[in-house]
């Protein structure tokens, strides 16, 4: 049963997605040039062009054009990529799993590092550990994923070459996968050699995306844990003899996670932004890398499809964050 709050979230999400769709449509019309000329293969007959023009309603007004375009989009037809000569939806669907596996791995690593460091910093009896963590974090916060990625290439790709610096899987190992979720599929098929190779390709881009996330989580969670530790319930637990670690894990962490989670949601959407550049650096075949190719080639149907894909991902993340709030904070479940 959906509460009115959840319903509001879903309605807001649909409205936002509609807004993204409008922007993405306007983009194709604002840019000079004939949208049909960009869709057809060279050498198409005048008859073909006229047929396409009617199919997309280009002889009608702008609103009618939008409705027709939206109809195509809803049925999964975003046209053909200009630069790659492939169906836009197939192209994105083939690349999206790589990005999903990468970002989820990065999210897990970032959460583990950030939460682990924040909990560890509460254990220090005096200021020493705390201030060390703060100083290190000051630098971590200033270094973007772009720089981490290049530093990793230099360190573990060149200076101490233990990891591959480009691609997603060694072509010699690639079997005929039925899905594009290479990591999940190779694990399910118990091909651990392939899973290991996919992980080796993924570890550096995932770390580059995870470290900035971990830095932000650490800063917010550490502050929240410190203020929660001064609340009555935490002091009471301490007085009754529970250790700092026990109080943190059993009592304060749950409450301190609420502000952290809101932030993690925002940072996770930023991470999808980060994939654009990190995937480029590691020649990783995801949608971020595809987006750069699309913009460089001015491949507008593909750009449109990617913008809607990114928009959809951002909206789903926000919905997931809202849902997990309700799980952590019972007061939000009703109302």
């Amino acid at each position: 049963m959906l509460s009115s709050r959840a319903l509001r979230q879903v309605v807001f999400a649909i409205v936002t997605l509609f807004g993204v769709a409008v922007v993405s449509f306007v983009l194709l019309r604002v840019v000079p040039g004939d949208p049909i000329a960009m869709m057809i293969a060279p050498g198409a007959s005048a008859e073909d062009i006229a047929r396409l023009r009617a199919a997309y309603g280009l002889d009608k007004g702008l609103v009618a054009q939008f409705v027709i375009w939206l109809g195509h989009a809803l049925t999964g037809d975003f046209g053909t990529s200009i630069s790659m000569r492939q169906n836009v939806v197939h192209l994105i669907a083939g690349r999206l799993p790589a990005t999903i596996e990468l970002t989820l791995t990065a999210l897990a690593v970032g959460l583990a590092l950030g939460i682990g460091a924040a909990v560890a910093s509460t254990l220090g009896t005096r200021r020493l550990i705390g201030s060390t963590v703060d100083n290190a974090n000051g630098i971590l916060l200033a270094v973007p994923d772009f720089v981490w990625a290049l530093a990793f290439v230099l360190l573990f790709g060149v200076a101490w070459p233990i990891l591959p610096i480009s691609g997603r899987v060694d072509p010699r190992l690639a079997i005929d996968f039925t899905t594009s979720f290479l990591l999940i599929e190779s694990l399910l098929r118990l091909r651990l050699d392939i899973a290991r190779d996919v992980l080796a390709h993924m570890i550096m881009p995932a770390m580059a995306l995870a470290l900035p996330l971990a830095a932000v989580i650490l800063r917010v969670l550490k502050g929240a844990l410190e203020s929660e530790a001064l609340r009555d319930y935490a002091l009471l637990a301490r007085i009754r003899g529970a250790s700092r670690l026990r109080v943190t894990l059993r009592e304060t962490l749950r409450n301190a996670m609420i502000p952290t989670l809101a932030l993690t949601g925002v940072q996770f959407t930023f991470m999808f932004g980060g994939t654009v550049i990190v995937e480029r650096i590691f020649a990783y075949p995801g949608i971020g890398n595809l987006a750069i190719d699309a913009v460089i080639n001015r491949d507008l149907p593909l750009v449109q499809g990617l913008i809607l894909t990114f928009g959809l991902i951002f909206i789903l993340i926000n919905l997931a964050v809202e849902a997990s709030f309700a799980l952590l904070n019972p007061r939000l479940r009703h109302g």
Partner: protein, 302 residues
């Protein structure tokens, strides 16, 4: 409202007043990072301005006979090329100096434009409140809901590549950073006694806003400007790395990093030097901003 001759109003909440030269210098001694970071950035700026005079070579001059020379401290180096050459035999040191021109142009112009736009809207929203504040706040909400990547992809796809579009993209995306902070700071300042005093003394709202509130908001803007310049340097480097910034006949740090990434196994220095300079510059802007914040924050000053 009639402007009268007024006695000097003591600025109660002001962080600008009561700060003569000596305490200003004392502050700098307490925050040496401002001096170090500021000094480095000034040096970089001078090198960028006088790039043709200080670079040892023409940054575009290719000499394929001298390609991928290692830096001067390693074996097989040419002492004429201190930091070595890239795969086309161009002098890396000279390209770094010329690359600073693009980096700093983007940093300064984009940060100032985003700062000016965001500050004006933030001041108006914070000071006048009412529907002005409602409109500006809604605008910020909508902007923040749009993820920056989506916006920048959209912008570059629409307006094309080049220095102007890089700057435009940064301004369009980042003005909210200034607007949010300036709005809340203005709200706080407006509630202070010195504003009431100025009202009692019969100063016009415009005069109070520009002469009283603005000087007290400016330190925050200064800090944000410094941080924004660091962000702008990164954004420019990222965009030129993927080939969406200026054309390739103008050296950029991001472009040099991209070239170095291609030949990483043959010459690590081609990527390491521009990357190090980029990191150093970003950290300098960060440390400068952080130090300025500590210097201008009345609570932290004690």
């Amino acid at each position: 409202m009639v402007e009268r001759a007024l006695p000097e109003i003591p600025r109660l909440g002001g962080s600008v007043a009561h700060r003569g030269m000596p305490s200003w210098l004392k502050g700098l001694r307490r925050e040496p990072r401002v001096v170090v970071a500021g000094g480095y950035l000034l040096l970089l700026l001078l090198a960028a301005i006088f790039a043709p005079l200080v670079s040892p070579h023409d940054p575009l001059e290719q000499d394929l006979m001298l390609n991928t020379l290692p830096p001067a401290f390693s074996a097989g180096a040419d002492p004429g090329y201190v930091l070595g050459t890239d795969s086309l035999g161009r002098d890396i040191a000279s390209r770094l100096i010329h690359g600073a021109r693009v980096a700093l142009t983007v940093a300064i112009v984009a940060a100032l434009a985003a700062g000016a736009f965001g500050t004006v809207l933030g001041l108006l929203a914070g000071y006048y409140g009412g529907w002005v504040d409602a409109v500006v706040s809604r605008l910020i909400d909508i902007w923040m809901a749009f993820p920056p990547v989506l916006l920048s992809i959209l912008l570059v796809a629409m307006i094309g590549t080049g220095l102007t579009s890089v700057i435009l993209a940064i301004v369009i995306i980042d003005w909210t950073r200034f607007c949010r902070v300036v709005r809340s700071e203005t709200l706080q300042q407006t509630r202070m006694d010195y504003v009431d005093a100025a009202v009692v003394l019969g100063r016009s709202r415009w005069t109070i806003l520009t002469r009283e509130v603005l000087p007290n908001v400016l330190p925050v803007v200064l800090v944000l400007l410094s941080l924004e310049m660091g962000i702008a340097v990164i954004v420019e480097a990222v965009l030129s790395f993927v080939g969406l910034s200026v054309s390739s006949d103008m050296p950029t740090w991001g472009g040099m990093i991209a070239e170095g990434r291609q030949i990483i196994y043959h010459g690590w220095w081609v990527m390491v030097f521009p990357l190090s300079l980029l990191v150093l510059t970003v950290l300098a802007f960060n440390q400068l901003g952080d130090g300025l914040r500590r210097l201008t924050d009345p609570v932290m000053r004690r």
